[in-house]
Structures are given as C-alpha cells and as structure tokens.
Amino acid sequence: MSGRANRVKVLVGGVQLRDGVSTVTEILGRIFTRAGLFAVAMERGYASTIYGAHQYDPILVADQPPLSYGDPVYDVLVALEYDSNPDAPEQPNRDTVLRHGPNLRDGGILLYDSSTGEIPTESLRARGVKVFPVPARKIALTELKREIVKNIIMTGALFRLLGFDGDFTHLRQLLEERFGRKGRDVVELNLRAAQRGREAVERVLAEQGYTLEVRLEPRPRGRRAVYISGNDCLGIGAIQGGVRFYAGYPITPASGILEFMERWLPRYGGRVLQGQNERESIRAAIGASLAGVRAMVGSSGPGISLKVEEFGVIGATETPVIIVDAQRAGPSTGMPTRPEQGDLNLVTGGAHGDIPRIVLAPSTVEECYTLMLEACELADKYQCPVFFLTDLNLSEGRKTVPEDLFAQRPPIRRHGILREEEVRGRPYRRYEVTPSGISPRVLPGTPGVVFKSSGVEHDEFGFVTIDPRKRAAQMDKRMRKLETYLREDAKPPYVFGETRGNPVMVGWGNTRPVLQEAREILLRRGIPVALVHFTHIYPLPKHLVEPLFADAGPVVVVEQNYSGQFADLLQRELLIRTRRVLKYNGIPLYPTEVADAVQRALRQEGAVVRIGSPEPVKVEVGGDGAEGH
C-alpha cells in the first residue's frame, strides 16, 4: 500500500499484559520473516506498569528491507481490546482506535475485537476506512472454549486482510514448533481459530462489498534470517566477542540483556551475576576482568548514574569493562519505557578527574552485533571503560536480520596480557609508562609474578604515590591511550551525500535509519542535504571528521534529548556552529517530522527546533500510568 503493494504498516494495540499485544507482533514478525519478508517493529509503546495501560506495537513489513520503521501512518490498525474501558460501555476498544485512529491512513483498515459490541466508526468510515469488527474473544470463549486463542483468531483475520498465508502454511509450521509438544489438538485448535478469524473477515467483505488492495506475497529468500532485538543481537555479539562474565541489575530496557545472558552465557562456559544493586554488578565485573575474563555490564540511565564512581576505578586501575547503557528518558526515573538519547554527557563526562574512555553507539540492530565485537576488542586493547549506547527502541525493538551477519567474526585477540614466560626474571611494572599508553598486564595466578593495582594514584609498580612527576607521568600515560585509539581504531562517521557546499544533517546512534529516510524526503523536496552519522562518539575522531565540515553548508544536529548533547560535543571539538533539531517527548523520531524540522532549522542561523509530535492524538492521560501515544 501507500503506492507499494508489498509493504504494509500494521499497528497492534491493546491492554498491557491482558491482550497479548507483543505476542501477536512476535508471531507476525516471525511468520513474515520465515515467509521471506522483512519485518521491523522498532517503536515500542508500553507503560511502566504491569497491567492495564495501553500498549501498542507498530510493525512494518515489506519485501525489501525497509530503511527505518517509518512515519506513524498505518495501513492497518488491530485493536485487541474488547472492554478496555468498562465505565464507558458504549466505547469498547477505546484506546487503540482513539489514540491511533487519526494515524490510520485514509482508506486503511481497522480490525477490532467486537466481543462487547460494535463501536462508533462513522468518522473513520467517512475517511474511507474499511472496518472489520471480529468478535474474537466471544468466538474463543463460546465456540472454541479457550479464551487464549482469541489472538490467533485476530491473526487469522489479519492474514486474510493482507492476502497473506492463505493456506496457513506458515502459521501451521510455527504452531507446530511452538505447541507440537503439547499435542496435535492444541495445534489444530489454533488453526481452527485462525480459520474462524478468516471467515469473520469474509463475512464483512461480503456484507460491506469492500475490496482489498493489499497483498503480502511471501518471497523465497536465499539466506536464512532471524527476527531479533537489539539486546539479543548485542548479547550474541558479546558471546562471540569473548565476553564470559556478565553482571546486571534489573532495569528497563537493559533487563533483556540480563535475561539473554542468564539463558545463554553458561552454555558457553561463562557466568552471569544478577547483582544485588548496580554497584555490586559493575564491581564484580571489574573483579572478573581483573582475573582475565572479558566482562560486561548492562544498565540504563538511573543505573548508569549509580555506576559512575566505578568509571573512575576502571579508568584509573586500567581494567577493561564493557558498559552497555540502554538509554531511556531521564532525568531521575524519567520515563522508563520511553526512548531518549540523553546519557551522552553522563558517559562522556561521568567520573571525577579525567579518565580515558571510549564511547560507541550502534545505529541499527545489526550494528548491535558488529559494533559489540569491536567493543570487546577495544576494551581489552585499551584497558579502559568502553561504553555502548543503545536506547529503548533499539534494545527492545525487533527486526528481520539475515543470519549470515553472525558469521562475521574476526578472531579474538587477547591484547597486552603477559604470560608466565614473558615476565619471568624481570621486575614487573603493572603501570609501565609506554609510548602507546597501554601497559601490559598479568593475570592473578601467573606463576612467579604479582601485580599491584590501585585506583589511588600510583607509580609504575602500582604503589601509592603523590610524587608530582609520577602523577603526571601516570596521567599522561593513561590519557595517551586515546591518541593511540584515534590513530589505530577510531572509525569515521557514515557519510551519505556530498557535504561540501551542502547543508549537513548530523546524527548519532540509533537514529541513522530515520535520518537516512528524512534525507531522502529532503532530496525529493529539492534540498541537497548530506547526512553524517556517528557510531564512534568519543573521543571524536577529529582528524577524520574535520574535513567533512570544512566546506560544508549549515550543520543541523538531530537528536533525542533536550539540550543537544552531541551538538555540544561537536561544537566543542570542531569549533563549528550547529543548528539543532531536538525531540524529547518520549516518542521516537519520525522521518517526515525530521525532514520538516531540518527544513525549518535551515532557515535560521543557530536555530533550535523542538519537535513535539504527534499532534493529532488527543487522549487525556489518567493517573493510572497510562500514557499518550
């Protein structure tokens, strides 16, 4: 639709925990992926409550990999609620339809559970929306005697609407794998449910005389693919990158990493610690790293704040640790289930005094894997904290990813670890002053040698000192690592288009796909904007970046925080002026609004454009934890 037959954006909404929104999108994503299509569900709409708030999960599916999750314009709305607001019996299915109805494109499709009666849809019908009331819960309870299959009824109905999986080949296969162990009849029950959903749609089609223009064709795909989240991808990256110790304390949206690691790391010989608090987690990781294991911790803003004092320990004791910050909206507890890129200052500047550190930010689910492999090597090589900045949508969002991605695996190299034969018979200096700033370390237990390691300022041997020369020598040595890093390992940003003479859009981290799409919109509008997008954030590879901006037009930095933290970094490092496009209302950036905002920012020197979208949704936010779109 939207001019392309084999590309559909579906929003599934319902009551959190009760309606199984993410179960439905998970089934959809997997089946679409198995059918050779590309699914992207990277905008997660849920609330920091356990039960009852509105939850929505948009999923975009196409026969070619979509650039990003796109604008909030939907071809199909699936409302799983049957009585989300019991106090207003005339308005069941209130949330999904009311909140997202305005974003349903004219002529789109509304599929809703009409078990407690049909809802008023005149205004939608007036916009050409085809309305499909399907009493899924009622059918499940009365005919199939199992309420749980109501979502499969809706899935069957949706497949009919999308002209997809007509004979339920894909659904059957998935069900057999999932429920095969529970017996044939469970699989058959589910298939009957899907069939009932399809029949309900047929009935509406016959009554209303609708014709459906959508058709999702399965495509043969040469290579296998998985439907996977950023958290899971970085978990695989960490295991392939040699991480064998992971510690975390439950926090949204980093808990997924802890769960992944608890399930998998022991099978690869590793151990996982659910710390009793954020500090125990990172300290245990420091200890494990000291003992020679590649160690990683994961958390989100509030937890990262608690870990800050250990940043200094890691920097001063020169112990490699990978720190994943799955950012969410702050400050304080902020909005735990909403995305933001607000922790940049925290990870580039957190800790008293100066420490060497490296900050990386993957820009796609795939990069959660590839960049993590790099993070593992960098931590080891530079013996410093390596920060890995994802955000809620990237961490928890899911996407179809070809499996051959995971075959990419450079060999692991343990950097700068001295073995017994290399240290025997000479005095060992843990903090030897070297030209590269990297001092080879020994692991505890290496026969014939001991080390002294301390966060207190120390001499080359690791003993406490306040000697000004030794202090300066150690400080210089530690910070010199960053020069080595910039020379040997820093990567330039992605560049799309020609920056010379053109306006330049700048972004970092997970926003790349959206900015790429925004750039294409701007190009179509005749604005020849280039895009420079950073994954290697800090220290900024100035020598690689400066030429890009030397003869560039106005620079517009687009990011998801209030102040423009990356714009500040760029201004400081490159001494250039930036204009800013900022969004911080808890909704991810969308391509069209970015294009519009960049266009506005280009009109004025030093402009700051704050995006407050989306406009059309007007639902009062109650005190129950429910949140607006």
């Binding site: 695989i236 295991i239 590793g270 300290r283 245990a284 020679g292 001991v450 002294k452």
Partner: protein, 286 residues
C-alpha cells in the same frame, strides 16, 4: 615461625620504613598475623589476591606480597566476588575497615554473607575513621554506656550479629593485640569452604582513646571450649551472654559450611573463546 618463610611475604611490598600507619597501630598486628597465617597455609604469593578497602586498613595490601587490587570505598567484597567467580583457583582475601564494611559497604556485606563465595573478609575494626581524622564509624561506642541515644548517635552495629543475621557461614572474632590468635583465625578462615568473616579488633591509638589495647585485654575472653560453633542458636546465645557480662568473645563463633556447587575458571584465552557455535541461539529467533 621460620623467618625465611616470612620473608617471602615481604617481597614486592612497600618496605617497613614507608608504612603509613601510626606507631602502635593495631593493623601492625594484623599484618604480622597475616604473614604467619599465609606461611602456615603454604599459599604462594602469585595465587593470592588481596583486595583492599579504603582507609588505613586497606593499605595493608601494599605491605604484603601477593596480587593486590584497590577500588572504591565500600567496594572490596564485590570486586572480590567477581575475581572469585572468574577464577575459583585464586585465594582471595578482603582487607577492609569498619566504615568500609558496615557503613557504605553494608549492602555488599549483607549480600556477600548470603552469597557465600569462597573467600575471606578480615575487618580491621577500630570504631573510627582514622584517615579522615577520627569521625565515628558504625561500630563506634564499643563498651561505652550511653543512657539516651539520638539520631546523631545511634547504637553501634555489632558485626557478629549482623553477619549471623545475614546467613554468614563462618564468623570469628579476634584482637590484633593477640597476633598468634589472630593468625589462627585467619588460617581457619582460609580453610573454611565459603565466606569467612573475621571481625578483628584493631585499636586506633590516635583517635580511639577508649578502646585501647588495655581496654581490650580487660574485656576479651576466649570462646569457651564447650561452645558448638555449628549451632546457630548457641552462637546467638554466646554473643548475648558475653554482651550481658560486658565481655567480648574471641574465637570461632559460628562455622557451618553450606553444600557448594563446583566452580571452574572461566574461559580466558583465545583458544578457549574461539570455539563458539551460536546456531542454538539463532534457532530460537527463527
């Protein structure tokens, strides 16, 4: 003790004349006891990791041979936990102070007791923050009778009771004025399979003018020979009965090892990390 054997523990350490403790500090006794115990245990320095706390106590890691690590205030137990989880073959001892362990580090203390990692915690307890010039620590007020408590001066934490309440499996008490006994406790702590906690009274001669060596000598008493340390109730009773008499028990107060899962050294080297097949993981995402 054979002086030559003791010498092993004096290599790779800060020489005596640079030790940063006040003359007469109780920590000297702990250092002497440690050396004796380590000789008796026949541990070699490269397999030992000394995790220091912040404060006078933590400095001991520099005065003794062995690998050493030193991070934040309140942190030693958690670093040590990570070291031990990564490599169970290492001998790990945390050398911390009372502020380090029972103020900022109390959450780590409670949870380490519960986790029961196979390592030793020796707290040099003097009731004051020495390096910052004598402020009260949570164990301040030992043996002092106070009529009315206030928010500013709450009752002291009893490390032994806290450890018992936190499900510790080895709890001992020593006095650094008695080097031989302290060494004995350290040996027994290392021999205990699990987390072994020693509350060592280590007088601060500069700031704690009340709990002096003389005061301790008057108030300590060995744990009676008929005490059954594997009996938790008996341990509680012992501490309570001693307290009622204004006395402090020295010796093993509680010892009851838990069954332990066998742990292996985690993979470290290239070869150990190379053989990775992520197919089983990918299968769950298809």
């Amino acid at each position: 003790m054979e002086p030559k054997a003791i010498k092993v523990w004096e290599e790779n350490a800060v020489p005596k004349h640079r030790i940063q403790w006040c003359p007469g500090c109780g920590d000297f006794g702990v250092l002497a006891a440690l050396k004796q115990a380590l000789v008796e245990l026949e541990i070699t320095p490269h397999e030992l990791v000394l995790v220091g706390g912040i404060g006078c106590s933590g400095n001991i890691r520099n005065y003794l041979n062995g690998n050493a690590f030193h991070g934040t205030h309140g942190g030693p137990l958690a670093y040590a936990l990570g070291i031990k989880m990564a490599n169970p073959h290492l001998q790990v001892i945390c050398l911390a102070g009372d502020g380090d362990t029972f103020a900022i580090g109390v959450e780590n203390f409670v949870h380490t007791c519960r986790r029961d990692p196979d390592m030793v915690l020796l707290v040099m307890n003097n009731g004051v923050y020495g390096l910052t010039k004598g402020q009260d620590s949570p164990t301040a007020g030992l043996g002092k009778s106070v009529e009315v408590w206030s928010e500013e001066h709450p009752p002291m934490v009893d490390p032994v009771l806290l450890a018992l309440a936190s499900e510790a499996t080895f709890v001992a008490q020593s006095f650094s004025g008695d080097v031989k006994h302290t060494a004995r406790m350290i040996v027994e702590a290392f021999q205990h399979p699990g987390f072994a906690f020693i509350n060592d009274f280590s007088p601060c001669v500069t700031y704690n003018k009340f709990n002096t060596y003389e005061w301790f000598r008057e108030h300590v008493e060995p744990v009676p020979p008929d005490h059954d340390p594997s009996d938790r109730d008996a341990a509680w009773r012992l501490v309570r009965d001693f307290a009622r008499r204004g006395k402090i028990p020295l010796g093993v107060i509680y010892r009851n090892p838990r069954p332990r899962a066998e742990a292996r050294r985690l993979p470290v080297w290239e070869g150990e990390l190379a053989d990775v097949d992520v197919e089983p993981i990918l299968a769950t995402f298809r």
